[in-house]
Symmetry: C2
Subunit: 346 residues, 2 copies
């Protein structure tokens, strides 16, 4: 396939930009009038004919204007991301006002992003894979229940109630707490293997069953996160784009959003295919999720140190405002990296 010369590039850009704005097929006359090329519509037509042959644009029908093909978008995106480096958008730090709970930060972020872009957005909590235990505490809550609190690096807190037949005395409690902390502290959740467990139980003596329960609790609370927490927002923004909002498509898309199952595969795909910037753009069929073949999907990953990472993504029409979206994701990515990496003390 031939390279595009400068004029063709300009025309292609003009077409795409125009289409991004209006959502209508754009004709030769429009380009000739609104671009700074000073070419007649006829000339534009010739060039457009070429561009179509090369696969960058498409005619929905014989006498309509042209719209960008997936390849065209791809070209535009690759071009854009290479050359643009716009100033930081209005996503301010005001959202990070000491909300300790990650869950809440995520919800805020995803909502903010949806409002900012007018597209549907999603974010996943960092997966706790390989995360390390930092602190464990057992407390007697009432006669029949012990509360186990588990804190991991990154200050994720998990609670679990453990039923017991009879209350434990303070001394035993203290001993168990010390035992648990000395044995498990600093271990990643995968490093707690049968050997560790056996030794633990041995040392716990008659209370080994409580240890079992605690470990179950640890395992359970991890498991619970393994099925991936995904927050979404702005799903109804889909209705703002006619090309997506006929009953059939909208229904499928929003279902995909609700189910979150499909989003998960998106996430996995993103995590595996890393890139320099950490931002990926899927246009149409490129998307790992079939339901979204009429959309574009932009994703970014953010880090929580220690190899833990989450994904944030935007789903919109192919004619999405890539510049704005990529920008938004870039800055968000940086900010999320900061929030979660730093010991929150700062």
């Amino acid at each position: 396939m031939h390279e595009l010369d400068e004029r063709k590039t300009k025309i292609l850009n003009a077409i795409i930009r125009n289409y991004l704005e209006t959502g209508e097929p754009v004709g030769s006359r429009t380009i000739s009038k609104y671009s700074d090329l000073n070419l007649s519509s006829a000339t534009i037509r010739n060039e457009m004919s070429d561009l179509e042959e090369m696969g960058y644009i498409i005619q929905p029908h014989t006498s309509a204007g042209r719209i960008p093909s997936d390849l065209g978008y791809r070209f535009y995106v690759d071009n854009l991301i290479a050359q643009k480096d716009k100033e930081v958008t209005e996503i301010k730090e005001f959202m990070i006002e000491r909300t300790e709970k990650m869950e809440q930060v995520l919800k805020q972020v995803v909502k903010l992003l949806a409002n900012n872009t007018n597209y549907a957005t999603m974010i996943t909590a960092p997966s706790y894979h390989r995360n390390k235990v930092k602190f464990i505490q057992l407390s007697q809550v009432d006669e029949k229940q012990i509360l186990a609190v588990i804190v991991t690096e990154g200050n994720i807190v998990k609670n679990k109630m453990i039923p017991v037949e009879e209350p434990l005395d303070n001394e035993t409690m203290l001993k168990l707490n010390i035992l648990l902390n000395t044995s498990l502290n600093g271990l990643s959740l995968e490093e707690i293997n049968l050997v560790t467990i056996a030794r633990l139980k041995e040392q716990a003596g008659i209370h080994s069953n409580i240890i079992s329960d605690v470990l179950d609790a640890v395992a359970a609370s991890i498991q619970e996160d393994e099925d991936l927490q995904i927050y979404t927002s702005g799903a109804t923004n889909i209705f703002k784009y006619p090309e997506l909002s006929d009953s059939q498509k909208a229904s499928e898309l929003i279902s995909a959003f609700e189910e979150k199952q499909q989003l998960a595969s998106l996430v996995n795909q993103t995590l595996s295919g890393e890139e320099e910037t950490g931002i990926q753009v899927y246009i149409g069929d490129e998307s790992p999720v079939a339901t979204m073949k009429d959309c574009s999907v932009v994703t970014a990953t953010y880090e929580l140190g220690e190899g833990m990472h989450g994904t944030i993504g935007i789903i919109g029409p192919k004619r999405m405002d890539y510049e704005n979206v990529v920008d938004n994701l870039k800055t968000l990515k940086v900010q999320l990296d900061n929030i979660f990496k730093k010991p929150k003390g700062d």
Copy 2:
């Protein structure tokens, strides 16, 4: 307004039932064929004419069949709920498999209900208003952070990280813990007033600022719940009903669902207007939420003892399967009451 005689009642029922199934206006011929009245279509027409005059049914246009009016639905519902007492539906206890976390139970319930009914569903967590403190525990997690764990009756656990300049020694920690527990235990969150606080701080001495932080934490974690946690499911079921799924309406409805703000008003309404069965049916305009004037809404409240209660609701087309829905809600209500009321030990 006159009472309906038996024949009119039968015909009205036939009309409504038929419409519930098909969603199409139903004509006189249909009724005469499929009901056991053995009347000709002409007779039916006469009766229908009467029913229309009385306001129970409506003609969408001159030469269409009839559809139930809001009043008609109301009659049907009132009739139905009074006389029906069907066997328990398939909602089995399998959903209650020792999931300690309320949040998860709720999510499961709402999802199950959506699957079961094919309507959009919502559920709120019980509000913690008037809930009592049962247990408080501070622990030193690392050099700069203390973890406060607060357990209330009903075993709701809240965590809060508190930053400190320098670590506290064990003894102080112990003292603070004892102080907090003896002072606050058994108090409802409203009973912790300035007097209590002042006394607490006095006793804490130089560590009074930590007490402040803990109390802030308590307040914050309550506040957080005050803006009402609502889980939803099956929003896209809306697309299954043509009369709701044109782009405009569907968009509004799903937005309402996403925003959850509007659902909140639904909840409040429900909580204030209690009824014998605890189940309320809003048809069309009766709904407290304007967005839902083309829908019917069925809500139920469940209890968690001590005056705490949550709401569960179903939103669907006016022609929803009221029998099934009410049944489902009834059994769910009972089961939720059971789950949450019992001390979980069992």
